[in-house]
């Protein structure tokens, strides 16, 4: 049977994805250009037995999102750069305490208040390193409205499976554009729920990992009383000042993600097999790059597009295939070279990375990329 097709806005598709994944709690704070997510879920969640709350600030929104998850609900919050900065404190708490949830960052321009209604991609490093301390990170970068939906479902799955916050790192262009979306039927997309303990509550250790590095997580109120703290803690959840144990636990958390690279990292490689020039682009800029690649191919230039749907962990393994193989690598992005640094780290100079960095609140025009392709170094 033909699937239902809807004409959706990117932010609307995030909501569809969240509800499909089983999200039943949203706590947020209004901020352009993410606000539609809150507006839509405020209307939709109660119909599905879920609840919405608008908190007093972004710190509270992040805190309440984690609280909702601890009480057993799949929880979501959405924001943009300035809000993301404020969320960082409790996002770090979410990492250390291993609480699943999804944070949508609809990126806009500039540090501080910046360019509220314009697009940007300058929160890549913030997503990875915005909170203090070391922690694993998963961030997804959709490029289409369909991917806004599908990747939101995947973000929830990864959050639940690996018991950690996951960031959907989208931008104003994808968030606000509209295109046709094939609506998944129940069962079309995998939906993963967190592992919950089945042991006797007396024996429950909230941070004792199973073979996959992830410990089952009990809902508060489900008969497994335990302690959660933002202090480094032992498998029983209680704080410990033992630095060696703290290090071992943080390495274990990092390995949850590192050891499952193949499951987490998704990359779209278009026309890369014979490519002499590789474009590395994500999010809305990948759309510009795709257009530019088509134009260049029409002129017989061997160029391919490497488009990560998972930006964190960085797709090192996928990208390494092109080390020494392609003659040029071009990284267009709406920031001053954040992702380019990572591409450089992976390729180690073979070849050198050429950037197209633009922070003028305009999407990068395909012609700009085409000119770079044709213009040579």
């Amino acid at each position: 049977m033909a699937k239902q097709v809807k004409f959706l806005q990117g932010n609307e598709a995030v909501c569809e994805g969240a509800l499909y994944a089983g999200c039943r709690f949203y706590a947020g704070y209004p901020i352009t250009p993410s606000t539609e997510v809150a507006e839509i879920l405020a209307a939709r969640l109660p119909k599905l037995g879920g609840r919405f709350i608008q908190m007093e600030d972004e710190l509270a929104a992040m805190a309440a999102t984690l609280g909702g998850s601890i009480a057993g609900k799949k929880s979501l919050t959405a924001t943009s750069g300035p809000g993301m900065s404020l969320k960082m404190e409790n996002l770090g708490y979410g990492y250390l305490t291993e609480i699943p949830c999804v944070i949508v960052n609809v990126m806009r321009g500039g540090p501080s208040t910046g360019l509220p209604t314009g697009p940007g991609q300058s929160d890549v490093m913030q997503a990875r390193w915005g909170t203090h301390g070391d922690h694993p990170c998963i961030a997804l970068t959709p490029s289409t409205v369909q991917e806004q939906l599908n990747e939101t479902v995947r973000a929830f799955n990864l959050a639940e499976k690996y018991r950690m916050p996951v960031i959907l790192l989208t931008d104003e262009i994808i968030g606000h554009m509209r295109e046709a979306v094939e609506m998944p039927e129940p069962g079309d997309l995998t939906v993963i729920d967190r592992k919950r303990p089945t042991c006797d509550p007396k024996d429950y250790l909230p941070y004792k990992p199973e073979a996959d590095g992830v410990a089952p997580m009990a809902d508060f109120g489900s008969g497994y009383r335990y302690h959660i703290t933002g202090l480094n803690h032992l498998p029983d959840g209680f704080p410990s000042n033992d630095g060696k144990l703290a290090q071992a636990d943080e390495i274990r958390q990092q390995k949850k993600v590192d050891d499952h690279y193949d499951e987490i990292v998704v990359v779209d490689e278009m026309m890369c097999d014979d490519a002499e020039i590789l474009i590395f682009a994500f999010g809305s800029t990948a759309r510009s790059a795709k257009e530019a690649v088509q134009m260049a191919r029409a002129e017989g230039i061997k160029v391919g597009l490497f488009r990560p749907l998972t930006i964190w962990p960085f797709p090192d393994k996928h990208l390494l295939k092109y080390k020494g193989k392609v003659k040029r690598v071009i990284v267009p992005e709406m920031n001053l070279g954040q992702t380019a640094l990572e591409v450089e780290r992976v390729l180690k100079g073979s070849p050198e990375v050429e950037g197209i960095f633009q922070i003028d609140s305009e999407p990068i025009n395909p012609i700009t990329i085409l000119n770079k392709i044709k213009g040579g170094k």
Partner: protein
């Protein structure tokens, strides 16, 4: 059909974004074409120059923004001046004769039409100027079948306003027919 890049502009609150959504949704959901709608906006909720962009194509659309429009609708002078700059040679320019006193100069086919007056006086509600626009635009450019446009409009308007909106579409079609005959 090749790719059409359409820009619908006016002042915030005139419903140009809604018009863009309706057109793109009709083309994609109802006719299976590829279509994207996007917009740019400033901090003000009402007033100010606003534009919606629609791309309709038989093939995949990657870059979601209009690079150079081949059709521009402008319901205010400010929008006409600001957004006509990159209209392609031979492009189509649709203007409202009440709000736009001076048509921008260029090698374009210009349709100066009483869109807002028709909405207010003939259809009876100035609010439906955007639907009148859609009727006229589609009659001139033939992006989608007339029945598609009607279906797309009716699926996005409040219940109880169906007749009003049908009348608005038809009034737009009539305006276009008259303008084409000139």
């Amino acid at each position: 059909m090749a790719r059409h890049q359409i820009r619908l502009s006016g002042s915030g609150g005139q419903g140009m974004i809604t018009a863009g959504i309706i057109l793109a949704a009709g083309a994609s959901v109802l006719e299976g074409k590829k279509a994207i709608q996007s917009q740019s906006y400033g901090p003000e909720a009402r007033g100010g120059a606003s534009k919606a962009e629609v791309i309709i194509s038989d093939e995949e659309i990657y870059y979601p923004k209009v690079m150079a429009p081949d059709v521009l609708v402008a319901l205010t002078q400010e929008a006409a001046d600001k957004y006509s700059k990159d209209l392609v040679d031979g492009g189509i320019l649709i203007l409202d004769d009440l709000m736009v006193k001076t048509a921008p100069k260029g090698n374009w086919k210009v349709y100066m039409m009483p869109i807002i007056r028709t909405a207010a006086e003939k259809v009876g509600k100035a609010m439906v100027a955007n639907v009148v626009t859609l009727g006229a635009l589609n009659e001139i450019c033939g992006f989608v079948k007339p029945e598609t446009l009607e279906k797309a409009v009716l699926s996005r308007v409040p219940k109880g306003t169906e007749e009003l909106n049908k009348n608005a579409i038809n009034a737009g079609i009539e305006l276009a027919k008259a303008a084409k005959a000139l």
